[in-house]
Symmetry: C2
Subunit: 294 residues, 2 copies
């Protein structure tokens, strides 16, 4: 039996189980590291007991994924100060005494959508989450992209026409990067209304679809994915999907002819709903377990 | 002995050999498909004779790399009309009677820089060419990224401040995408001077470094490469390297702390000079040869 933690900046989702139809979940707000990890550990210990074999963590970032680094398993330069330089994987491993796998929340979600969800049997795809922040995980040739650190897709720069949208952006590092312009936080601040309280016919959604389609264009030309799965709180506003597809078709302008006729199946919601991340934690745990048994 | 063809929109470079210090080269302008392929085939046949075992082609694009497609090995929707829908790999295989490997020019160049050049022993990197056009090839987890079609990194959108740079861009598909703003063609048209005749102290180079650094920022946040190798005619203007690194440092704004202190070794010229592409053709030929022997 495996434990999983999806660590978001606003809430934690914890799970114990083996697959989508065999998992017990618990969710609570993210507070201080000590308090939040204690809750997560207690839930996993209580449900799994002695049957626990490994835990997989999908965490908000940036995080240190370099196994030869002294700070492997730590959260690094996050603006959330109490979590900065926190030894996340180490704390969980110490408390539960089992192997712990550690990756980004979006990489975990990508794994789960690839295994059980909207990207089954697809070797090249992207999982993008649009919520409080924006992040992406990519599968290339069937494996996760990690690279030098890990992707931070929310921080790409996209065209921003200040005369049409004078909002300066909310990213503390880059102001009007993608996350600065199109995250839930940005929507709330730009319009002065909580993003999930904005009406369906508000112009906010045209602008949101525009920025997200620009971002998809850049991801497509860089990674050539076969599918893009878009999740996160903002994407629960499903009217965004047709708007994004239409804008994307116009931005690509037939350059990728193979996409033109399949765009409805190309940009899709997650099949695992809001559980992609925590289910990805289960997969990470299974992987670390089979690795450590070798 | 292997044959190689680097097919660019303005010139072809052909090679026969096995590695950087054992290769014979020939180069000529790109004209009609029949005439250009005839020259390439004659050169390879003359130098290699009966010792020829395979040919590798790195071609300008877009091209069809899907082996199960009826148009595998063809150039597809290029604006160069005589080459559109041309069966490049098939023509060469027919003329020379050996196995032919086919990939993009930038993927070939990336392979060669990874094997013998500026990215040896690096599992995650990007090769970017900035010349008449702009293109990129990526290695992720040690393998080329192909995906749904293949990357077309020159066509990402970057911020374009029309009040600072009113030039509308030259891309026939997207106007002011990266290639539309920062290719050699764009530089020449924006300033009304052939790009290689523009003085070193001309403001053109600050603007060029700005657009290229914006593009690198996006590639870094999407792929998290350990190194970016920048080649092509425009990058022969070596003063661009320090300008790009400085601008990149400012755009990343310490978000990727691991990069901050290593940026001089992070953005580098190709170690194989202008021969990365044709040497990559040799590697493609070796690969198809070892595959077809299995």
């Amino acid at each position: 039996m495996f434990g999983a933690i999806e660590a978001g900046g606003t809430k934690f989702v914890c799970g114990v189980g083996t697959r989508p139809d065999d998992i017990q979940l618990s969710s609570f707000p993210t507070s201080s590291p000590d308090e939040t990890i204690k809750k997560a550990v207690e839930f996993i210990r209580e449900v799994a007991g002695a049957r626990l074999t490994a835990v997989g963590i999908g965490s908000f970032g940036p995080i240190d994924l370099n196994r030869s680094s002294q700070t492997y398993g730590h959260i690094t330069s996050t603006p959330k100060l109490p979590w900065r330089n926190y030894d996340f994987a180490g704390s969980v491993a110490h408390a539960l005494g089992v192997p712990v796998a550690f990756d980004t929340d979006v990489n975990a979600a990508a794994l789960a959508e690839g295994q059980w969800g909207a990207a089954r049997d697809i070797d090249n795809f992207i999982y993008l989450t649009v919520g409080t922040g924006i992040g992406g995980g990519a599968i290339v040739n069937g494996s996760l992209v990690h690279g030098f650190v890990h992707p931070e897709m929310g921080h790409i720069r996209v065209p921003h026409d200040l005369s049409a949208d004078p909002f300066v952006g909310v990213c503390p590092y880059h102001n009007d990067c993608l996350e600065g312009l199109a995250s839930g936080t940005a929507i709330t601040q730009r319009w002065g209304i909580r993003s999930n309280a904005i009406a369906d016919d508000h112009q906010a959604w045209e602008l949101e679809a525009h920025y997200l389609a620009l971002a998809l264009t850049n991801f497509i030309f860089t990674l050539s994915p076969e599918r893009i799965v878009m999740g996160g709180g903002v994407m629960n506003r499903t009217l965004l999907f047709p708007k994004i597809r239409e804008e994307l078709r116009s931005l690509l302008n037939d350059y990728v002819t193979k996409l033109r006729d399949n765009i409805d199946e190309f940009v899709v919601p997650p099949a695992l709903g809001n559980n992609s991340g925590v289910l990805g934690g289960i997969l990470l745990a299974q992987e670390v377990c089979s690795t450590s048994q070798k």
